[in-house]
Amino acid sequence: MSAVTRVAVVTGAARGIGRATAAALAKNGFAVALVDVRAAELREAAAIVQGAGTATLALEGDVTSFATAQRLAGEVRAAWGRVDVLVNNAGISQPKGLLEISEEEWDRTIDTHLKGAFNWCKAVAPSMLAQRSGRIVNMSSVSAHTGAGTAAVSKSAYCAAKAGILGLTRGLAKELAPHVTVNAVCPGLIATDLTAGMIAREGPDNLVRTIPLARLGTPEDIAQVVVFLATVTPCFMTGEVLDVDGGQWVN
């Protein structure tokens, strides 16, 4: 325990961008708590992250539950005494548009992305304010700007949830300043389990044609930007929204 000096929590860490971010933070010397609802993949991810040589915690839980976030954040502090970095990454795809989506599916989408981020900010921000330091990085999406494309893995409910995260980021940047910074990252089209079906359906070549850098993004591409926001010292970025999309949005 004495070796643990910097602590990060990553939600949705069992797969994809979350797993890559947890691994990258571990490589940069963080003790990392991985939070996910998928127990088996979570244990697998934690084992891989632990390979970087730092302490890890695998915390099974659903980010949509306020009580669960409170309890798990307490477990992290009990183990390591503090939380320095929170990465709100947990998300689900929502390929149904307005005419197909049910009320329950809408709620589930907003709850996972937006309420999940709220739950975890609420669970760790007080201790960050008390220690007068902290970094929060929220995972949004270029879909928040664009409303997503017709081929997108996720339609309006997902876009609304991701745009909500931008508002949360900007509001919290002011509320938690000056000692805690809050920023958002907007990935473009990243090759993950979440997007694999859509990429196969649409054909990777067709999708890559819309991206100036002529390739899909990788989870590591995003993880590196998150690590930058989590570690650059001193840091004059707060309330900022960083697009990491290979130029797709401006194209």
């Binding site: 000056p178 930058f228 004059f236």
Partner: protein, 259 residues
């Protein structure tokens, strides 16, 4: 953060301010740097202090608003420093003049340094990056003045807004060649001149009014802008292109909510 490319980075406006701080940071990362400035003696003085056994530093005097001067500067940079891996368009001027009193000479001067020069230097450097086949990373130093309307800087704000769009279009056109183009938008940077002004009776109130609008409640240190530029130059930013990275302590979010 990992190592930057071993290739040289050209920095315009490198004799002072952010350009100078950037050149220093690049050398600390063992990255060869070409310091370009219209103040050739100033650039030479900085380069002379920087060059070490680990990383070389060259200085070239050039007026980056003049096509022939740009061509000569970039040709020499390529010849002396080898294949170019990066360019940071940092040269800029920011006179403050009320719009109704602004003359065309000042308008043209601001647009020349802040917009025409990045066009010329980016074109000249990108052509050599493409010829050398190794891709590259270009960073334009823009400003939050490209988004916020501040009195007295109609020319400056317009030039930086145009620079944002130059960034986006060149990102799209140069992407097939493996060249990324991004911009940083610093807010108010705390330079010696800014702090000296804030220490005066007249400047103190203005300074405190300014700080009250910045959530992080202070000005940017040049190093905080430099670290973002260095990140964008690095392989860690491999999927970033056409992006605008604001570095303003939350300034452009507006007046902080009471707390």
């Amino acid at each position: 953060m990992g190592e930057l490319t071993g290739r040289a980075v050209v920095v315009t406006g490198a004799a002072s301010g952010i350009g100078r701080a950037l050149a220093e940071a690049l050398v600390r990362r063992r990255t060869p740097v070409v310091l370009c400035d219209v103040d050739g003696a100033g650039a030479a003085a900085v380069a002379g202090k920087l060059a070490t056994d680990d990383a070389r530093a060259w200085s070239i005097a050039a007026d980056v608003t003049e096509p022939a001067d740009v061509e000569r500067m970039v040709e020499r940079a390529r010849r002396e420093a080898g294949p170019l891996g990066g360019l940071v368009n940092c040269a800029g001027i920011y006179p403050n003049t009320p719009f109704l009193e602004m003359n065309v000479k000042e308008w043209d001067a601001v647009l020349a340094v802040n917009l025409r020069a990045p066009f010329l230097v980016t074109q000249a450097v990108a052509r050599r990056m493409i010829a050398d086949g190794g891709g590259g990373s270009i960073v334009n130093v823009s400003s939050t003045a490209s988004r916020l309307a501040r009195p007295g800087i109609a020319h400056y704000g317009a030039s930086k807004a145009a620079l944002n769009q130059l960034t986006a279009v060149t990102a799209v056109e140069l992407a097939p060649h493996g060249i990324r183009v991004n911009a940083v938008l610093p807010g108010v940077v705390g330079t010696d001149r800014v702090y000296a002004n804030a220490a005066s009776d007249a400047g103190r109130v203005e300074h405190e009014t300014k700080l009250a609008r910045i959530p992080l409640a202070r000005l940017a240190e040049p190093a905080e802008v430099v670290s973002v530029i260095v990140f964008l130059l690095s392989p860690e930013a491999a999927y970033c292109t056409g992006a605008l990275f604001t570095v303003d302590g939350g300034f452009t979010l507006g007046i902080p909510a009471p707390r």
